[in-house]
Subunit: 93 residues, 2 copies
DNA sequence: CGTCCTATATATAACGA
DNA sequence: TTCGTTATATATAGGAC
């Protein structure tokens, strides 16, 4: 989507990688927000740049998204309730 | 980005909302993957459709992304060491 | 580092089968 | 509803500030 076509592989040049990062990071966060609004979805996005800086977006709150994610995961990975009697896990954060 | 321009607000029609959801969800996940590869970033995306179905993407593992998110948050929300005597966080990374 | 500009690459809204 | 098709809307690569 620009003057030239690019291949999806790690950008070697540190400077261009940084530039591309900020542009695409903004694009991704915008898309996430649009998806959440348009489709009434609960979305959570976490991005760590290669320099370790955090960027995020969450339609509700990252906390609730993560909590919901856990619950959802727990459910789907417990297809064997018969042998799992003591299913008590606390959802923190 | 289609035949017509749209306003970013919840799509009332359930059917179109569903259609738009699957298209944009795929788009968002693709963008997330590209960002991770191109910019060597650590990305985590969690999406719950309005019907509650989970969709996700993570460059490494959602588990590690969430863990990293927590650490990152812990650090940044402790800008008041004066009143916080028991500030013991380990800086890793 | 973010911002503006502009030519292109992509994503996708509206349809049709 | 689930897929293609395609006309348009957007995102963004490249480059200059």
């Amino acid at each position: 989507m620009g003057r030239g076509k690019i291949v999806i592989r790690r950008i070697d040049n540190s400077t261009s990688r940084q530039v591309t990062f900020s542009k695409r990071r903004n694009g991704l966060l915008k898309k996430a927000k649009e998806l959440a609004i348009l489709c009434d979805a609960d979305v959570g996005v976490v991005i760590f740049s290669s320099t370790g800086k955090l960027h995020e977006f969450s339609s509700t709150s990252m906390k609730s998204v993560i909590a919901r994610y856990r619950r959802s995961k727990d459910e789907q990975q417990l297809p064997n309730p018969a042998s799992d009697i003591k299913v008590n896990h606390r959802i923190q954060l």
